[in-house]
C-alpha cells in the first residue's frame, strides 16, 4: 500500500521547500554586497556584440545597473517607468540583459523602446551570479567609487523611485 502514501510524502517534501521559501524575502533583505565594491565585469554590448563595456569606465559617476531579460514579465511592468525616467537624464542607467538570447533582448528593446544608456548582455548569467542576482528585474545604485549603495529586487515603482532611489542618487552625486 506504499503507493497510496506517496502523494503525502511528496507533499511533505514540498512543504519544506515552501517553508524555506518563506524565509527568502524577495524584496527587502539587503544584499550582502550592499556597501561593498560592485563586482568588476567586462561584457559585450547587446546592440554591438563586437564591442565591450567594462564596469570601471563608470568610476567617478553615480549610475544605476538594471538587470532585466526579455522573458521576464515584471520587467515589462517597470519598463514604462524606466522610459519616463531615462528621459529626465538624471543618472546613467546601464541595462544588463540577463540569461537571455541577444536576439530576444534586442527585439524587446526595439519593440518597447530602449531606456538604457547602454546595455550589456550577460548570456550565461555569470556576472549576474557575482552580483547575487536572484530574480529579474533587479536594480543597483552604484556610487562614484564603484560601491553598491542600494539593491532593489523586483520592479521599480513610482514609490521606491521617488522615496529611495532618487534621493540616494542625489546624495551620492553631491558627494
Amino acid at each position: 500500500m506504499m503507493r497510496f502514501i506517496l502523494p503525502f510524502v511528496l507533499f511533505v517534501i514540498l512543504s519544506v521547500f515552501l517553508y524555506r521559501g518563506l524565509g527568502r524575502d524577495t524584496a527587502e533583505i539587503p544584499s550582502p554586497l550592499v556597501g561593498k565594491a560592485a563586482p568588476a565585469f567586462v561584457l559585450p554590448l547587446l546592440h554591438e556584440p563586437a564591442k565591450q563595456f567594462a564596469s570601471k569606465e563608470m568610476l567617478g559617476k553615480v549610475w544605476l545597473l538594471n538587470v532585466w531579460a526579455s522573458w521576464c514579465s515584471s520587467c515589462k511592468d517597470e519598463h514604462p517607468l524606466l522610459m519616463n525616467f531615462s528621459q529626465q537624464h538624471i543618472v546613467p542607467v546601464v541595462g544588463m540583459d540577463y540569461k537571455d538570447k541577444p536576439v530576444d533582448g534586442n527585439e524587446t528593446l526595439k519593440a518597447a523602446g530602449d531606456p538604457y544608456n547602454l546595455v550589456v548582455s550577460d548570456i550565461d548569467g555569470s556576472v549576474g551570479f557575482n552580483f547575487g542576482v536572484y530574480g529579474v528585474p533587479e536594480t543597483y545604485v552604484i556610487d562614484k567609487q564603484g560601491i553598491i549603495r542600494y539593491k532593489l529586487i523586483g520592479p521599480v515603482t513610482p514609490q521606491n523611485l521617488q522615496k529611495t532611489i532618487l534621493p540616494m542618487v542625489a546624495r551620492l552625486q553631491a558627494q
Binding site: L18, S73, A111
Partner: protein, 666 residues
C-alpha cells in the same frame, strides 16, 4: 460603525463555520440525524453573515470611507463608481473576503441542491466546506482584516492600481475565484467519500456537475485574464507564463483531468482512487495558488504585498488541509479500491493516458513556476525559467494528448479493436493532414502577408486542430445514423455528449488561434511624425498626431491612427497613454479593431520629440487571435451543456453503475 459591523459579522461567520465543521461530521460518524441536520441551516447562516461583511466593505468603498485602511489604500474619491466597487477585490484583504463570500455561496448552493443525496453525505460535504471557511476567515481576522481603521482618516485614497482600472477587473477575478473555490466542492465530495468509505458511480454522478460548473468558471476566468493582458499591457501577448497565471492554469489542468476521470468513475466504476486524488489535487493547487500569490515567495506582476506572518499562516493552513487529506487518502484509499478492469486498449486506457498527460503538464508548469524557489533552497544559486522552458515542455505533452482527444470519443469502453478504430478514423486523419499541408500555402494571400510562410509548427498546429474536428464529424455521423427523422436522431444523443463535443471543438478553435497568431503575426515598430504612414500586413496606418484628453482620474495622450486597406478606410484607432493622477503611474491602453480573421492592434510607445509631435508607435496585425478566446468560450459552453444533461436532474431512482448499452456518453 458599518465597518465594525462587517468585522463582527465575520466573527459570527467564523463561529458558524466552526460548528458546521464539527457537528455534522460527528453526526455522520455516529449516525446521529440531529447533528447532521444542523448542517444546512448553518450553511445558510454562514452565507448570510459573510454577505453582510462583504456588503459592509462594499459600503465603505462606495461611500469613500477613507478611515478604513484598506479603502484608503485601494480607492480614491475620483475613482469611477464601478471601479470603486471592483476595488473591493483589488487588494489582498478584500480579495480574501471575496474568496470567503464565494465559498459560502458554494456551500449554500450545495445545501440547496442536495435534497436527493443521503443525509450523511450532505453532512460531511457541508462540514468539510465549513472547515475550509474557518481557515480562510481566521486568516482574514488574524492577519489581514479589510476592516482595520486608519486614524486619523486619510483625506483621500491612494487610488486603485491603474492596471486594475478596467472592465476586465470587474469580472475576471470573480470568475476565477468562483472556479478556484468551486473546486472545494469536488474536494469536499472526495473527502466525504473517503470518510464514508463508499465511492461508487452514484458518488461520481453527484460530483460531476459541481466539478464541471467550477471548471466552467475557471475556464472563463482564465480567458478573461488572458484577454485583459492582451489589450491592457500593450505588448500584444495573451499569455506570459507569469507565476500567477500559472497558479490558475495548474488547477485548471488537473480539473480538466478530474472531469474526464469522473466520467470513467461514473460510467465504468474505474479510476476510483485516482479520481479522489485528482479532486484533492485540483483544490490543493487552488490553495497553493493563493499561497504563491500572497506569501511573496515568488515575484510576479500580480503579487500582493508580502508579509511573512501571512505566509506562515497560509502555509500552515495549506499543510493542515492538504497534508490531512493526503493522509486520509493513504489510509482510506485502499478500502475504496481501484475499480473496474479494462483492456490495455480501450476508452478507459485512452482517458487514463489523457489524465496522466494532463497531470504531467500540470506538474511541469508547477516545477517551472517553483524552480527559482527549489534551486535557491538547495543552494544551487539564483535561477529562474521563462517562457522558453514552458513552451519546450508544454507543447510536446499536448501533441499526444490532442491525438488521443480525437480517438477517445470514438473508442469503445472496456476493449477496442485497433484495426476497427483505425479503419474508422483513417479518412478523417488523412483529410486533416492534407488540409493542414495545403492551407498554409494559401494563408499568405488570405491574410495579405508579404510572403507565404510555411512552417512545420503551423502545419502541426493545424493538423491537431483538424484532427479534432475530423473525429468530431466521424463521431456525429455515427451517432446520427439510424432510423427516424433527422431531428429525432439528433435529439437521441445526450446533452453531455454534445457538451463534450462542443468543448473539444473549442479546443480545436483555440489551437487554430494559437497556431495562426504565432505563425503569421506582423509587427511594426516605428517612429511616426504627424502624417506619416506605415504598411503592415497589407494594411496602411496613418498617424494623425496625439491629442490630450482628461479622464475622470487620469490625463491621457490619445493617438489618432487611421487604417486603410487597398485605399479603403477601415476606421480610426485611438491608442492611449495614460498618466493616473493619484499614483502618478503611466499606463498603456492599446486600441484594437477586432475581426474574425485578424485584429488590428495599435499602441503608443513614448513621445520621441516634443517639438514636432513624433511618437514611437507599435502596430500589430494579429491573425485569428480572437479564436483563442472564442475557443475558451466554446469550452465553457460545452461544460454548461454537459451540466444541463437531464440525468443529473433525475434523482428519484439511483441508476445502476453500469452504463446502458445503447447510449454511451462521457
Amino acid at each position: 460603525m458599518i465597518p465594525e459591523l462587517g468585522h463582527f459579522s465575520l466573527i459570527i461567520a467564523l463561529f458558524l463555520g466552526m460548528i458546521l465543521g464539527v457537528l455534522p461530521i460527528l453526526g455522520a460518524a455516529r449516525n446521529n440525524s440531529v447533528l447532521m441536520g444542523v448542517a444546512r441551516p448553518l450553511a445558510y447562516g454562514q452565507f448570510v453573515f459573510v454577505s453582510l461583511a462583504f456588503s459592509a466593505l462594499a459600503y465603505a468603498f462606495l461611500a469613500n470611507d477613507f478611515s478604513v485602511l484598506y479603502v484608503a489604500e485601494h480607492s480614491n474619491s475620483h475613482l469611477p463608481g464601478q471601479y470603486r466597487f471592483a476595488a473591493i477585490w483589488g487588494g489582498h484583504e478584500g480579495s480574501l473576503l471575496l474568496w470567503a463570500l464565494f465559498l459560502s455561496v458554494w456551500t449554500a448552493a450545495v445545501a440547496i441542491f442536495s435534497r436527493h443525496l443521503p443525509e450523511e453525505m450532505v453532512a460531511r460535504v457541508l462540514g468539510v466546506m465549513g472547515l475550509i471557511s474557518v481557515g480562510f476567515i481566521m486568516f482574514m481576522l488574524f492577519t489581514s482584516s479589510p476592516f482595520t481603521r486608519l486614524l486619523p482618516a486619510a483625506a483621500d485614497g491612494q487610488d486603485l492600481n491603474p492596471l486594475l482600472q478596467d472592465p476586465g477587473l470587474v469580472i475576471h477575478p470573480p470568475m476565477l475565484y468562483m472556479g478556484y473555490v468551486g473546486f472545494s466542492v469536488a474536494y469536499a465530495f472526495a473527502i466525504s467519500a473517503l470518510l464514508g468509505g463508499k465511492l461508487d458511480a452514484t458518488w461520481a454522478r453527484w460530483s460531476r456537475p459541481w466539478t464541471t460548473v467550477a471548471w466552467v468558471f475557471m475556464t472563463i476566468g482564465i480567458m478573461l485574464g488572458s484577454g485583459w493582458a492582451y489589450y491592457e499591457l500593450g505588448w500584444g501577448g495573451w499569455w506570459f507564463w507569469d507565476p500567477v497565471e500559472n497558479a490558475s492554469f495548474m488547477p485548471w489542468l488537473l480539473g480538466t483531468a478530474l472531469i474526464h476521470s469522473l466520467a470513467v468513475t461514473e460510467k465504468r466504476g474505474a479510476f476510483k482512487s485516482w479520481t479522489v486524488l485528482l479532486a484533492i489535487g485540483a483544490f490543493s493547487l487552488s490553495l497553493l495558488g493563493t499561497f504563491l500569490v500572497r506569501s511573496g515567495v515568488l515575484t510576479s506582476v500580480h503579487s500582493f504585498a508580502a508579509d511573512p506572518k501571512r505566509g506562515i499562516f497560509i502555509l500552515s493552513f495549506l499543510v493542515l488541509v492538504i497534508g490531512a487529506s493526503l493522509l486520509l487518502f493513504a489510509w482510506r484509499a485502499p478500502k475504496v479500491g481501484l475499480g473496474g478492469k479494462f483492456d490495455i486498449l480501450s476508452r478507459e486506457s485512452l482517458l487514463l493516458s489523457n489524465n496522466v498527460l494532463l497531470s504531467v503538464a500540470s506538474a511541469s508548469v508547477f516545477i517551472g513556476t517553483l524552480y527559482p524557489l527549489f534551486m535557491d533552497a538547495l543552494g544551487y544559486g539564483k535561477l529562474s525559467v521563462g517562457p522558453p522552458y514552458f513552451e519546450a515542455v508544454f507543447v510536446p505533452l499536448m501533441i499526444p494528448m490532442v491525438f488521443m482527444m480525437g480517438l477517445g470519443p470514438l473508442a469503445r469502453w472496456k476493449k477496442m479493436s485497433v484495426p476497427d478504430l483505425a479503419r474508422r478514423v483513417q479518412w478523417g486523419f488523412a483529410s486533416a493532414l492534407v488540409l493542414a499541408l495545403i492551407l498554409p500555402l494559401s494563408m499568405g494571400r488570405f491574410l495579405s502577408l508579404e510572403s507565404n510562410k510555411f512552417s512545420a509548427m503551423v502545419v502541426l498546429g493545424l493538423l491537431m486542430a483538424f484532427w479534432i474536428i475530423a473525429s468530431l464529424v466521424i463521431s456525429l455521423k455515427q451517432r446520427w445514423s439510424g432510423q427516424g427523422t433527422f431531428m429525432a436522431r439528433v435529439r437521441r444523443q445526450s446533452m453531455s455528449y454534445y457538451g463534450m463535443q462542443a468543448a473539444h471543438l473549442g479546443m480545436a478553435i483555440f489551437i487554430i488561434g494559437v497556431t495562426l497568431v504565432k505563425g503569421y503575426e506582423t509587427e511594426r515598430d516605428v517612429r511616426m511624425n504627424v502624417g506619416d504612414t506605415v504598411m503592415a500586413g497589407g494594411f496602411e496606418f496613418r498617424f494623425k498626431g496625439v491629442t490630450q484628453t482628461a479622464g475622470p482620474n487620469y490625463t491621457a495622450s490619445t493617438g489618432h491612427v487611421l487604417v486603410y486597406q487597398d485605399g479603403r478606410s477601415l476606421g480610426e484607432l485611438l491608442p492611449e497613454k495614460r498618466q493616473y493622477n493619484a499614483s502618478g503611474m503611466p499606463m498603456t491602453d492599446a486600441s484594437i479593431q477586432p475581426g474574425v480573421f485578424r485584429d488590428l492592434y495599435v499602441s503608443l510607445g513614448e513621445p520621441i520629440s516634443e517639438s514636432d509631435g513624433a511618437w514611437a508607435v507599435r502596430v500589430y496585425i494579429k491573425p485569428f487571435v480572437d479564436w483563442i478566446w472564442a475557443g475558451c468560450l466554446l469550452m465553457g459552453l460545452g461544460g454548461i451543456l454537459a451540466v444541463s444533461d437531464r440525468r443529473y436532474r433525475i434523482h428519484k431512482k439511483a441508476v445502476l453503475a453500469t452504463a446502458p448499452q445503447s447510449s454511451i456518453h462521457i
